[in-house]
């Protein structure tokens, strides 16, 4: 089973990388892009009896390892 996790900084956290990318895009002429936030993307190949079980395991991994709850949030997608 395939699962995906997206880890991003909490909205309240300043993202200097995202800001830098936004400014670079403006320089390139993409004035319509107001903001960019940079995050991390993980793909899992996981054995589970059901998508729900896969989601539960991956969420646990995301919470305890992949994301730092002080500054990050995450989203899980299971195929």
């Amino acid at each position: 089973m395939k699962a995906k996790v997206y880890v991003t900084l909490k909205p309240s956290i300043l993202d200097p990388q995202g800001k830098t990318i936004t400014q670079a895009l403006h320089t390139l002429g993409y004035g319509g892009i107001a903001d960019v936030r940079q995050g991390k993307f993980f793909e899992f190949d996981i054995e589970a009896d059901s998508p729900d079980e896969a989601r539960a395991t991956v969420s646990e991994v995301a919470e305890h390892v992949l994301a730092n709850p002080v500054i990050e949030i995450f989203r899980v997608e299971v195929e």
Binding site: L9, I13, L14, P16, Q17, T20, V65, L66, N68, V70, I71
Partner: protein, 238 residues
């Protein structure tokens, strides 16, 4: 008085372990031992040091993988029973990820790896690592990091400040807090903090790299001398 015994934890990618070993054993004449991260024996150490470097290449997040190393369970036990623990740079990051200190680290605000001497103001002297300083003393200590931008949510910051747990701050040469002197953008210019029981201290700057005038500053000696003195007085009292 006998020598103070320091255990310096080495993770794959730690690279300031030898600097710490040199400062402790050669410069300060104490006992230092390198302890591999898979080892769960702290060899009866009096002090544990988590050194700087790039443990696990800073993969995922700085310190995020090192915190799960077998030795960290022993370090946590040592810390929870009151043993002095000093986390330097990556070591501080490991302590944060391990939850032994609150908060987290972000990328430096201007996205640069900063390698320079900074002014570090000692906020409180009632920790084993600052007891030889006076409150407000400004130390000249080098930093070398790309992810030293300390963050904690407002309620955590308030708690740290209220309980005098901010131990070091980035300041001007005469100890003034100013954005201009907050090189990495850390919340409230926080460079180092301690835990509730004040025995675990983490800081981004490198005191072990400032123990001899030949390397630009000897102000860092104070941090190590403090814990040596703190343990001396405990043993004498006991």
């Amino acid at each position: 008085m006998g020598k103070t015994k320091f255990a310096i934890i080495v993770f794959p990618g730690s690279n300031c372990d030898h600097d710490a070993h040199y400062a402790i054993s050669e410069v300060l004449g104490q006992e230092a031992e390198l302890v591999w991260h898979k080892d769960t024996d702290l060899r009866g150490a009096d002090v544990v040091v988590l050194p700087g470097g790039f443990s696990y290449g800073d993969y995922l997040r700085s310190g995020a993988i090192a915190r799960f190393s077998p030795v960290m369970r022993r370090v946590a036990e040592f810390a929870n029973s009151g043993g002095p623990v000093l986390g330097i740079c990556n070591g501080f990051q490991v302590l944060l990820e391990a939850g032994l200190l609150p908060g987290g680290m972000r990328r430096n605000q201007h996205l640069e790896f900063i390698c320079e001497h900074v002014n570090l103001r000692v906020e409180h002297t009632d920790t084993p690592f600052t007891q030889n300083a006076f409150a407000g003393q400004v130390l000249r200590i080098p930093i070398a990091h790309g992810e030293g931008n300390y963050y904690a949510p407002p309620e955590t910051i308030a708690e740290l400040e209220a309980n005098r747990r901010v131990v070091f701050r980035y300041t001007s040469p005469d100890g003034a807090v100013d954005d201009a002197w907050n090189v990495n953008g850390s919340t409230s210019a926080i460079a180092g903090i301690c835990n509730e029981s004040r025995n675990v201290v983490g800081l981004m700057p490198h005191p072990e790299r400032a123990c001899e005038h030949a390397v630009g500053s000897a102000d860092g000696r104070l941090v190590l001398e403090s814990v040596i003195a703190a343990l001396d007085s405990v043993t004498k009292a006991g």
